[in-house]
């Protein structure tokens, strides 16, 4: 009887502990809009290494801006840019951050929760969205992202990383007097080959339950361009073919 009582107490304690643990796991899900006024600007001056400064100086927006070619913003620019609403979907083992910039393609960051880091694989190519792992620490989602494609620039001004960038993020909920529920992302960009010291930034998003996503497609303009060029070529050819007959009539 006494044994059962102790087991009952233990179960109750376990239940309470679980309740506390569950209550501590925040629900980040929903649609969020970036709030520039609550976010931090890039540090001025940027703590660039000589190599990064050289890359920055050589940046040619016509040639080196990936979005000009309908390539993704990539991570972390998709999170930093404040260019689109963001949808967060949360499950017990993953958190999805979906960015849908107007006139650009969808970018989905998947954060795998509570998985061990994979050993470095030299054959694994970096990706534009990177590889993200995360876990909850109290009220915050801690995310670490690596293996990011260095062609994905960090900012439209031409700021780049070396390919060795390690991104650490702390996502947590807050409240703003004007905007109500907000989602805060404290980012640390660690790339010794590019930054003499880690760059710390904050991005803030306001809860926007009524926001709807437009279904943009960046290559739309390419398609329209191509059709028009083809039709114009046809038109020019038709005019050229008609020209001798007209001249002969004169």
């Amino acid at each position: 009887m006494q044994h059962k009582t102790w087991r009952g107490i233990a179960a109750t304690v376990a239940g309470l502990a679980c309740g506390v643990a569950l209550a501590a796991t925040p629900d980040l899900g929903g649609t969020w809009l970036p709030v520039e006024a609550l976010s931090t600007p890039w540090p001025e001056p940027l703590p660039l290494t000589d190599a990064a400064q050289a890359r920055f100086g050589a940046f040619d927006p016509d040639r080196d801006e990936p979005t000009g070619f309908c390539m993704p913003l990539g991570t972390p620019r998709n999170t930093l840019a404040g260019a689109s609403p963001m949808e967060v979907l949360q499950t017990p083992d993953r958190v999805y951050f979906i960015f849908q910039p107007n006139l650009l393609n969808v970018e989905t960051r998947r954060v795998y929760l509570n998985v061990p880091a994979k050993p470095a694989d030299p054959d694994r190519l970096p990706t534009w969205l990177g590889t993200s792992r995360g876990h909850f620490e109290g009220d915050a989602l801690i995310v670490e992202t690596t293996e990011m494609e260095p062609q994905a620039i960090l900012h439209g001004s031409g700021l780049t990383h070396s390919g060795q960038l390690r991104l650490r993020e702390r996502w947590h909920l807050g409240t703003d007097a004007k905007r109500g529920r907000i989602l805060i992302d404290d980012l640390v960009l660690d790339d010794p080959a590019s930054f003499r010291e880690p760059v710390r930034l904050r991005r803030v998003f306001a809860y926007a339950t009524d926001a709807q996503f437009a279904e943009g497609q960046c290559s739309e303009r390419l398609w329209i361009d191509q059709l028009w060029r083809h039709r114009l070529t046809e038109h020019a050819a038709a005019r050229k073919a008609a020209a001798p007959a007209t001249a002969g009539a004169k």
Partner: protein, 249 residues
């Protein structure tokens, strides 16, 4: 009960509670079976008909179009070649081995397609519908509801451009609707499979609905990867061949 067991029980209870909140409260248990990554099973899937049942008006319109603009040149006329995603049901009727992922959250099914990296949002139940001002899009605007263990999804407001005409598919009218019936089954070896009975309904173009079944293989070891349709153009640019960038010629 030692501390480790307590923690394990706690985690298990926690996951069960979150999973319950994610699935059972809003979706039947079969949703848990549907969630995950799937690949088209081209061998077991059906095909749309070679000859679509076109109404006389649609046939005449097609013939007029071909006479005026033919012959069709896929290098110019195929929107795919310009990285324009074909509208629904293209991403769910592919036979090429592009995976997609299904995710259930309260009142929603979300599909992540590797091809074009598209996301399809399907509100389920009494959720808000598409805005009247919403323009037609490749994914269209979908609404779903459960009929026992079958998820019925109806999609409208589909964009017409890039709907596979170079391959001979019929045109798409504003009245086109797609009804999908998603259900679970098993193949001959007992492996679970996802089934999608697709009906394309377009009374302006078709004399009767076109129906076929797609089957998908459970693929838990596959990740939905990045799809960069414009990679070739970007690479050509980086290699110093900007003249090959079509819109800069």
């Amino acid at each position: 009960m030692n501390c480790r067991m307590l923690m394990a029980n706690c985690v298990a209870m926690g996951l069960a509670t979150i999973a319950t909140a994610t699935h059972a409260a809003e979706h039947p248990a079969v949703a848990r079976e549907m969630a995950g990554v799937w690949l088209p099973d081209s061998r077991r899937s059906g095909r749309p008909p070679q000859e679509w049942p076109l109404r006389p008006e649609a046939l005449a319109a097609r013939d007029r179009y071909r006479a005026q603009h033919g012959p069709i040149d896929p290098t110019v006329d195929d929107a795919n070649a310009s990285c324009i995603p074909e509208p629904m049901p293209y991403p769910v009727r592919l036979f090429a081995q592009y995976p997609f992922e299904i995710l259930f959250t309260p009142a929603r099914m979300t599909m992540f397609f590797e091809i074009y990296g598209n996301v399809r949002r399907i509100p389920i139940g009494a959720a808000r519908g598409a805005s009247l001002e919403a323009l037609p899009t490749p994914m269209g605007h979908s609404r779903g509801h459960w009929e026992n263990d079958t998820l019925v999804v109806e999609t409208a407001q589909l964009r017409r451009e890039g709907a596979g005409q170079p391959r001979g598919d019929p045109p798409v009218s504003n009245a086109r609707r797609i009804v999908e019936r998603w259900s679970m089954g098993k193949d001959e070896s007992g492996q679970k499979q996802l089934r999608n009975d697709i009906s394309i309904i377009d009374p302006v173009v078709l004399t009767q609905p076109v129906s076929f079944r797609m089957v998908y293989k459970w693929s838990p070891d596959i990740e939905v990867g990045e799809y960069l349709c414009q990679q070739d153009i970007w690479d050509q640019n980086l290699q110093g061949s900007p003249s090959t960038v079509p819109w800069r010629q």
